[in-house]
């Protein structure tokens, strides 16, 4: 069982594993694996705490009701699975600043927090605009050969590459 404690697996082993997981998701749950609608539902649940059942009147929440569903459980599972993997390999540690960020932008926590918050807001907004994320469109949609997903995945990477290049090659 030493392989469970390894820090890294071959990307191909990981990719094939995710591919097999997608077979099982289609077979046993009749669903493609995705993540971003879970964030919409959670956002709706939080809004419900403040605004009550009026939340259900919003057209978007009529489509994605703020309740716990299969995909919501997938996202909770991802946190647990990554926790398990990092504990087994001894990589788990609480940290604020990634290594590359530290080397290029320094170790000031509020800066990293502000930038990651901004990135998260734009990405969450964009994920719902595009109707999916790197999992739902990028893997599950492309493997079904969906036109929308191939187009979305290309746009994710075009936007991501240009932005990362701008930040690391121009700004920093």
């Amino acid at each position: 069982m030493e392989w469970l404690a390894m820090e890294r697996w071959s990307p191909y082993a990981v990719g094939i594993g995710i591919g097999i997981l997608s077979w099982l998701a289609f077979l046993l749950s009749d669903k493609p694996i995705g993540c971003s609608t879970a964030f919409t539902r959670t956002s709706g649940m939080i809004e419900k705490i403040f605004r009550g059942s009026k939340v259900h009147d919003k057209p978007y929440y009529k489509q994605f009701s703020p309740t716990i569903d299969w995909e919501w459980m997938v996202v909770i599972g991802i946190i647990l699975g990554a926790f398990l993997s990092s504990i087994l390999s001894g990589q788990f540690s609480l940290k604020w600043i990634p290594a590359i960020w530290h080397a290029e932008a320094g170790s000031h926590i509020p800066t990293r927090w502000g930038v990651s918050l901004l990135g998260g807001i734009i990405m969450g907004f964009g994920a719902r605009w595009a109707g999916g994320c790197t999992s739902g469109h990028g893997i599950s949609g492309t493997l079904q050969l969906a036109v929308s997903s191939w187009l979305a995945a290309i746009c994710f990477f075009v936007g991501g590459i240009l932005t990362a290049m701008f930040i690391y090659k121009v700004l920093l």
């Binding site: 609480l94 079904q144 746009c155």
Partner: protein, 185 residues
């Protein structure tokens, strides 16, 4: 098809959790729950993310189409429109480049203790998703539905048998992965 299992609500919640645990475990072992690996992909210095995604798509595509051929699975392609997919995809990409995680890998990063993924990334994604829900009814007609093409797949678009497209995409993925390996990325 396993209709009874699909309709078992609590059973599905348990299955979702199990799929998520496996998915998160794999993402963490692949290194893609780490900011550095994702950013180095976007800077085109390390192709781990692309290697994982393409081998997942290759494996998944062949298996899911086989399951479909024997009547054990049906496809659920997402609908698309130029106003939805292209604009949304580019906005997502900008956020992806700034944050350095995507929604799934941000969840995984929380699992391995990354506080920027939790208090920045996930809090931000929730705010962003909430903002989108707030403006959805305003942009739905004028923007999102522009250039609507629906839930179409590549074989339907090209009007050929899906196995021909599966074979072509499979060859393209293998060639691309071969080129990436050959160039040492």
């Amino acid at each position: 098809m396993l209709k009874n299992l699909h309709l078992n609500k609590n059973g599905q919640l348990v299955l979702g959790l199990l799929f998520g645990i496996c998915f998160g475990f794999l993402l963490q072992k692949g290194g893609v729950t780490t900011y550095d690996v994702i950013i180095r992909q976007l800077l085109l210095e390390d192709f781990t993310v692309v290697k994982i995604m393409l081998s997942a798509v290759l494996t998944g595509m062949i298996g899911v189409h086989l399951l479909r051929s024997v009547g054990l699975a049906q496809l659920h392609p997402k609908p698309g429109a130029v106003g939805t997919t292209v604009i949304g995809g580019l906005i997502f990409g900008v956020g992806f480049g700034i944050l350095g995680y995507c929604p799934g890998t941000a969840a995984g990063a929380i699992g391995q203790g990354c506080l920027d993924a939790l208090l920045g990334g996930v809090v931000g994604i929730l705010i962003g998703a909430g903002l989108f829900a707030a403006i959805y009814h305003k942009i739905h007609q004028p923007v999102l539905s522009k250039g609507h093409f629906g839930e179409i797949t590549l074989p339907e678009l090209l009007q050929v048998n899906h196995w021909i497209v599966v074979a072509i995409v499979a060859v393209m993925i293998v060639v691309l992965l071969g080129l990436i390996e050959k160039s040492g990325l």
